[in-house]
């Protein structure tokens, strides 16, 4: 634990050198999420009906999408694929500090870095749209504090799983981009799942990202016991499933790993 925290501090210091990472978050996460929101708001403003959404609930929905999307933008797949392809993973397999600790520290340092844009987005919402927060009760806050970290954990596990494809493929960035795009679309990142055609909604029920965006956000906005219970249970099941898949893939990948890079 101590070694993980020390490494996190080192990575955080490295991260601070590359401060453009924050601009990258704006271009890759905040702007793409804002565009559909503003399109829906323009339509709602002209009297269009969108399922049960009002302007206020739409803003609330996309606010939480933005927060989760920012915090899960750890880009761990790039670090992992570099480790495998450059062969530098071997040093983490030999050192007392394990590869798992190394990967965890990268993720933790990124999440700390990502806290800044998250706070900025939150502050902007408080200034320009305080109604989102005015109706919040302690139940909302408790639901948020449990569901958002679990959502980020599920997202990170999916990212690592895709990154482990580096043991088999030369370039995983394309695979990652395609997979996260499809999973995100099916689980409410581009638009609320309630607005999707039923075929996509049904498929979306079976993907892990359902418990990164749609289910937790539903439970945060409407923190009834049933909603929260269902979302947390789904997240925990996916964490177990993904954990098992990660273990199998990691073992199989290591057996293929030739430690010289490719």
């Amino acid at each position: 634990m101590h070694s993980t925290l020390s490494q996190t501090r080192v990575f955080l210091a490295q991260q601070m050198i590359h401060r453009e990472f924050w601009l990258q978050v704006v271009i890759e996460v905040i702007l793409p999420v804002s565009i559909p929101l503003l399109v829906w708001l323009s339509l709602l403003g002209s009297g269009v009906t969108l399922a049960e959404f009002t302007s206020s609930s739409m803003r609330q929905y996309y606010f939480f999408v933005t927060i989760i999307a920012i915090l899960s933008h750890t880009e761990i797949q790039m670090d992992l694929s570099r480790l495998v392809h450059e062969g530098t993973l071997s040093q983490w397999l030999l050192r007392p500090s394990s590869a798992v600790s190394y990967i965890s520290s990268i993720i933790l340092s990124r999440i700390v870095t990502l806290a800044l844009p998250t706070v900025v987005v939150g502050a902007l919402m408080v200034i320009f749209d305080p109604q989102i927060f005015l109706g919040m009760t302690p139940a909302h806050l408790i639901a948020m504090s449990a569901l958002i970290p679990l959502a980020i954990l599920v997202a990170c596990m999916v990212n690592i799983l895709i990154a482990l494809m580096s043991f088999w493929f030369v370039e995983v960035e394309g695979i990652f981009a395609g997979t996260s795009l499809i999973l995100g679309f099916l689980s409410g990142m581009v638009m609320p799942v309630e607005l999707l055609p039923s075929i996509f909604r049904e498929i979306g029920e079976w993907v892990p990202y359902q418990y990164v965006f749609a289910a937790p956000i539903r439970a945060i906005i409407d923190p009834g016991l049933e909603n929260v219970k269902q979302a947390i249970l789904g997240q925990l099941i996916w964490i177990v499933v993904l954990g098992a898949l990660l273990r199998i893939t990691w073992g199989a990948g290591l057996r293929r790993f030739d430690a010289v890079g490719n």
């Binding site: 793409p32 339509l43 370039e171 795009l181």
Partner: protein
């Protein structure tokens, strides 16, 4: 016997042709990556088209004053334009970044051909975005009469020039002074932002956030005859003059070591 001098433009054309051949040969070696990326890019387009279709249906089949036919033409124009633009600029930015950061930019500056031609020779980025060009042009030819299709293609080509300028204006300073290549993120942003023409949405914030692709909305207005083509041409000139100015500054301030 006097040796006939080969004109400069023919030398450049030969080099460009040779670069294209090498580029295709190189990407042929990475066929699987190309397939994965083309699939990913088309998934993005499919998702955005679906988003556009849902927004169009929800709006009562008239989104921001545009009917279905206009939106299909808009899709064709944006695909064609972004196909041309990204085919050129993607590789340029990718290689420029690598060269500047590793100090290899020296060779670009001291060896022929000139820097601008060299930019296009290094990596033409042709492969991933070639389908855009065919599909975009195909949509326009399928949906419009010959004259209108030619008009839309001309507008798309000018829009492509604007996109090249915009990408270079953002990427050159980021590469030189930020050690960061924002082209991948920009591609993602552009693809999400250019689904719906937003110029007549009446939402200022939406227009500001879509600023990077606002030229496509202007292009649609030019196609419909609401705006003069000179506005689009002025945007193309402004964006590329800006890009060349930034390139000039980058070359001047480049310190000949990996930076």
């Amino acid at each position: 016997m006097s040796k006939k001098k080969i004109p400069e433009w023919r030398k450049t054309a030969k080099l460009l042709l040779w670069a294209a051949k090498l580029h295709i040969a190189r990407w042929s070696a990475y066929r699987m990556n190309v397939v994965v990326w083309v699939f990913t890019i088309w998934c993005t387009i499919a998702i955005q088209v679906l988003f556009g279709a849902l927004a169009y249906q929800a709006s009562g089949e008239n989104i921001f004053g545009n009917d279905g036919h206009t939106l299909v033409v808009f899709l064709g124009m944006t695909l064609l334009a972004t196909g041309i633009a990204q085919s050129i600029v993607h590789g340029v930015v990718l290689h420029l970044g690598r060269c500047v950061w590793t100090g290899q930019f020296d060779y670009w500056l001291i060896q022929p051909p000139g820097i601008v031609v060299r930019l296009f020779l290094e990596d033409m980025g042709l492969v991933w975005f070639i389908p855009h060009i065919f599909v975009g042009a195909g949509i326009l030819v399928w949906q419009l009469s010959a004259w209108l299709a030619a008009w839309a293609i001309l507008i798309a080509i000018i829009s492509a020039v604007v996109e090249i300028g915009v990408v270079l204006c953002i990427c050159i300073p980021a590469i030189r002074w930020g050690r960061w290549d924002p082209s991948a993120g920009l591609w993602e942003y552009f693809d999400r932002a250019r689904t719906i023409p937003v110029l007549r949405s009446g939402n200022l914030l939406l227009m500001i956030i879509s600023a990077g692709v606002l030229h496509y909305s202007v292009a649609l207005e030019v196609y419909k005859g609401s705006f003069s083509i000179l506005i689009l041409l002025a945007m193309a000139v402004a964006a590329n003059v800006g890009a060349m100015y930034l390139l000039k500054n980058m070359v001047r301030s480049y310190s000949s070591a990996s930076s």
